[in-house]
């Protein structure tokens, strides 16, 4: 298990959110989640320009084993998606917190970020799940 970066916030459903310098919110799934899913083989990305609501399904990642909905941690508009995942979905397995990001949101209500778990709380959640 790789170290959980301290600047990330999490949904209980294992999505991470990172506020970038430009204020946009980058979203991916945790290293723990990719490990649980196993080898990823397909990512269904959202449309750029689509509006999303916090806690609603936005993307789908499929491993050999199963398909999983990816929920958006914040409401807003999709401004970019990680096109690299179309050809290399395994990037999420290799670097879940970095190059394996999935989409970028222009948040309409930054207050929603306060509802998310911080890195320590998320680490604890994962810890409890494992036992």
């Amino acid at each position: 298990m790789s170290e959980i970066p301290g600047d990330l916030k999490f949904l209980k459903s294992h999505e991470w959110a990172r506020v970038e310098d430009d204020g946009l919110v980058r979203v991916g799934i945790s290293d723990h989640a990719q490990g649980q899913l196993g080898d990823l083989v397909y990512v269904e990305l959202p449309e750029i320009g689509a509006s999303v609501q916090a806690g609603h399904g936005v993307a789908v990642v499929e491993s050999v084993k199963a398909a999983s909905d990816i929920y958006s941690p914040v409401s807003g508009e999709i401004v970019a998606v990680n096109e690299e995942l179309n050809d290399k979905p395994e990037t999420i397995n290799e670097d879940a917190f970095g190059n394996g990001w999935i989409f970028l949101v222009r948040a309409s209500d930054r207050g929603e970020l306060d509802e998310l778990l911080d890195a320590d709380a998320y680490a604890e959640l994962v810890e409890n799940e494992d036992h």
């Binding site: 196993g38 083989v41 397909y42 789908v60 499929e62 084993k65 398909a67």
Partner: protein, 366 residues
């Protein structure tokens, strides 16, 4: 209460991701399911399949009993050690389980049945055996390791006693023989498998299983989890009980017609129902599907055809093909343009003849 095989600690020490598999705590992968899949297609991998149930049948009327119990004909087994794949049916022609039967002597046959169906199988076999005075004996004292891949046989044979080498090199497909393993351990080695590759399935006394596993690992056989086993068998066009057929499905509807022997005068359980279904015309057929677009075919997805809807049975991403394939059961007749409903999106698929992969290579037309 979850059952554990004798190799459980070995899997955990290797860092396996363990899952509940029909009541058994089994390794789904040891890191990457896809890499484990490829190593079996290209070299040699090994699977702990000790959760499967070994049942020994003894008695003077054992062959006669199996003529009655199984839809395939044990009379095809003429040479000691030969194996046969068969369905075991109920009176309605539904599949209770699929299994392999080994002919080990006129009064001794061995069955290997599925893990998830263990209890109902044992109850059914025991009940049917009474009339034939056949002793039904489960063998929980055995573990089983499947070694599969183009280099699997050579790697196993290298571990056997010198005296066994020539004989085991000549062991034919779907045949089994006793041999001596590392440290003289007694092995039952069968040239069978569930991956579409050549290889052996080895039945070993539990107390020797860890030593055998370690000797295989030292010989360069890579551990592979049940996740890879599932994608390998799907590519190889092999049915999975519970997903591709069950008690409500007849072999005709599960593309297992080739395993039904309607030999003259043999009164096997389910025969009347099978003959009636054949005469009336089978309503559903099992087909292979390939998805050329991106996405993954999965169990339970609706399949839309010109004659109505069917559904996906086994479906997965196929690592050898780098696209998704599936088995589906659909209404009989010319299907027209076939689509699969993936989360509300209708995606075109192709109906193909399977296996999808044989001996490491994609089959023609896949």
């Amino acid at each position: 209460m979850t059952d554990k095989t004798v190799l459980n600690d070995t899997h955990r020490a290797l860092g396996a991701r363990m899952v509940d598999f029909g009541g058994w705590d089994m390794p789904i992968n040891y890191g990457s399911q896809i890499e484990e899949h490829h190593v079996v297609r290209r070299d040699a991998g090994m699977f702990d399949v000790s959760h499967m149930t070994v049942v020994d049948l003894h008695g003077a009327r054992t062959r006669e009993f199996l003529r009655h119990l199984l839809a395939n004909s044990v009379d095809k087994l003429k040479v000691q050690g030969k194996a046969l794949y068969s369905c075991m049916l109920n009176e309605q022609g539904g599949v209770i389980d699929d299994l392999i039967v080994y002919f080990l002597g006129e009064e001794f046959f061995r069955l290997v049945v599925n893990a998830a169906t263990r209890e109902k199988d044992l109850a059914w076999i025991t009940q049917q055996a009474k009339a034939f005075d056949v002793e039904v004996k489960e063998r929980p004292d055995y573990a089983m390791i499947a070694v599969q891949g183009p280099n699997a046989r050579a790697k196993v044979i290298g571990l056997l006693a010198e005296v066994d080498h020539e004989r085991m090199k000549k062991l034919g497909k779907f045949a089994a023989a006793a041999a001596q393993g590392p440290h003289g351990m007694p092995l039952f080695v069968a040239r069978t498998g569930y991956t579409g590759e050549d290889g052996f399935e080895i039945i070993v006394p539990q107390e020797h299983a860890v030593a055998l596993w370690q000797a295989l690992a030292a010989a360069g056989v890579a551990p592979a989890g049940l996740g890879a086993r599932d994608t390998l068998r799907l590519e190889a066009g092999m049915n999975l009980y519970g997903q591709d057929m069950d008690d409500t499905v007849s072999p005709w509807e599960a593309n297992l017609g080739w395993t039904i022997a309607l030999d003259e005068g043999r009164d096997f359980i389910g025969r009347n129902a099978l003959e009636a279904q054949k005469a009336a015309g089978v309503k559903r057929v099992m087909v292979g599907l390939v998805l050329d677009d991106k996405g993954v075919l999965r169990h339970g997805q609706p399949v839309l055809t010109a004659n109505g809807a069917g559904e996906i049975l086994s479906g997965s991403f196929a690592p050898t093909l780098n696209k998704a394939v599936a088995f589906a059961r659909i209404p009989v007749g010319e299907p027209g343009d076939v689509r699969v409903d993936i989360r509300g999106r209708e995606v075109p698929v192709r109906i193909v003849k399977y296996p999808f992969v044989r001996d490491g290579q994609p089959c023609e037309g896949i």
